[in-house]
């Protein structure tokens, strides 16, 4: 029997007079991959901001592993095992690739307030970083500064930071946005290999329809402030209402 890892109940979010999310209900089963699609400005990123604790919902509740996390601080939510990446690249620019990941791994440990111990003595976090660098296919780039990486590599690094946090649930906001077409497959490879390991539940926002169809277990469509469809990719493709709303009436 599968277990629900994330559940949104009657989520509403307004900015001043602007009601972006009207009544969002969404469930993600453990170890599955769900993609959220919807037109620009539909409120997808806002939804992520609510889940990760950056914003508070106007009303409604968010449950992570059956625990109500509504209104908790971002770092508290992260520490509970829910990590996110950002639509804009969000890394530590002038730290090395290795250190970007190592510092994330360290945050899960018990050594954060050791002010005299040399960080190199804590082999555990160094090993985790080495391992994840391989996983996100940044081998050989560990000693480069994050700022020196290509855009796609920075995206991989972000995913690496999330993996280092060891969370069960990963949120990916448009991972392929702004990345050159040649680099997209390598990035998708990374995401796919994480999915195939089967340990993580993943919620992704993405526009590139052919990628989504292949990689997602389910697809949810956000439109007009509500989820108008949530189903397996094949069914979504057939859903005419969706085509009207999102795909622009027969674009696919």
């Amino acid at each position: 029997m599968s277990k629900t890892i994330l559940e949104l109940k009657n989520i509403k979010k307004s900015f001043g007079g602007l009601e972006v999310l009207k009544d969002v209900n969404l469930k993600l089963e453990q170890s599955t991959f769900k993609t959220i699609i919807g037109p620009n400005g539909a409120g997808k990123t806002t939804l992520f901001n609510l889940i990760s604790g950056a914003y508070k919902p106007t009303s409604g509740r968010i449950f992570f592993n059956d625990v109500d996390i509504t209104g908790l601080k971002p770092h508290t939510i992260t520490n509970m095992g829910l990590g996110r990446s950002y639509q804009m690249t969000n890394i530590f620019p002038k730290l090395t690739v290795h250190e970007n990941i190592r510092i994330a791994a360290q945050s899960k440990g018990t050594h954060n307030f050791h002010i005299i111990t040399n960080y190199k003595k804590l082999q555990k976090y160094i090993d985790i970083a080495d391992e994840i660098i391989e996983k996100v296919k940044l081998s050989g780039k560990g000693n480069m500064l994050a700022v020196e990486l290509s855009h796609a590599e920075q995206r991989k690094l972000e995913i690496g930071i999330q993996l280092a946090l060891g969370g069960e649930l990963i949120l990916l906001d448009e991972p392929t946005a702004g990345i050159s077409l040649e680099e997209v497959p390598a990035l998708i490879d990374v995401i796919e290999s994480i999915k195939n390991e089967g340990e993580k539940s993943i919620l992704m926002i993405e526009h590139k329809i052919n990628i989504i169809m292949e990689i997602s277990d389910t697809i949810a469509v956000l439109h007009g402030g509500v989820i108008i469809a949530d189903d397996i990719p094949k069914k979504i493709k057939e859903n005419i209402a969706v085509q009207k709303a999102y795909l622009g009436g027969g674009a696919q």
Partner: protein, 335 residues
Amino acid sequence: MNSRLMFLKNNKNKKKISIILLFFALIVFPFIVNSTYILSLVIEMCIFAIFALSYDLLLGFTGIVSFGHALFFGLGAYTTGILMKGYGWAFVPTLLPVILICVAFGVGIGAVTIRAKDTYFSMLTLAIGQFLWVIVVKSRVITGGEDGYHGVKLLFDNNRLAIYYFMIVVLLLVYIFAKKLINSPTGKVLQAIRENEDRAGMIGYNVLTYKILVILISGSIAGIAGSLYAVTAGSLTPALIHSNTTMHAILMTVIGGMGTLNGPIVGAFIVKTAEHVLSDITQRWMIIFGIIYIIIVLYFPGGITRLKIKSNKFFNKILRNKKNIECFEKSSEEA
């Protein structure tokens, strides 16, 4: 691989040798110059190097721009001065209340100001620093007000040679502590906060706690520098707390190179030397500093110590093959 290891070893040897030479030079220095004036100058340099070093922990390693750092220096100086002259304490025991007071102020200031971001935070620290300055000026009975607080008993009966060696040792100890701190897990978090504060929060660090921690650590070190000032100068004036004193720390840190630890020490020595040389020539030496400061910020934002590393790299490029340079860079990266 073998040649790589050899080179690393050589590099380490070189480092060891230059450290030993430096020590030797520092030991014989007083006998070579044989001048109380110059010894006093070096003593003052050491005190300000400690102060600037504490500022670098904020500015260079955590990215906190404080305009009120001198208040810790002043707190240390006045606490030690008043306890010694007013209450007959010996010097060393005063360091305990100095640290306690600086920690208390660090936590208080941190909690009050640090939710304010960037510019607002800096402005608040300026306001708090100047507020304390006003208090010291107005509390005539306790602090002597604008006339200053005079007659603090000098360290080692003002034996400048003994004070000189003592300062070198204290500076070294503070340097070692700071170096350990920045290479510790906590120090690494501070650097992550400097790079991307929001992200550091997102990966699970409570940024506020770390900022308060670094403020109270650097504040305590600044307080100790102030205490040392009290027992070597003997006279204290409210100017010690004034934002001008903070500006000195900023100047030293930026000129020397922020985020390096060596930088603020070099910066303190340069600024203090230049201050003494220039102030003999002109009253307007601060203007000259202003200009140097602007040039460095615009053209050498890494500061003087990084300039040296760069030219070192340049010569290495000419002299050695590329593999070895990578080795050198790796070893020099370990700040």
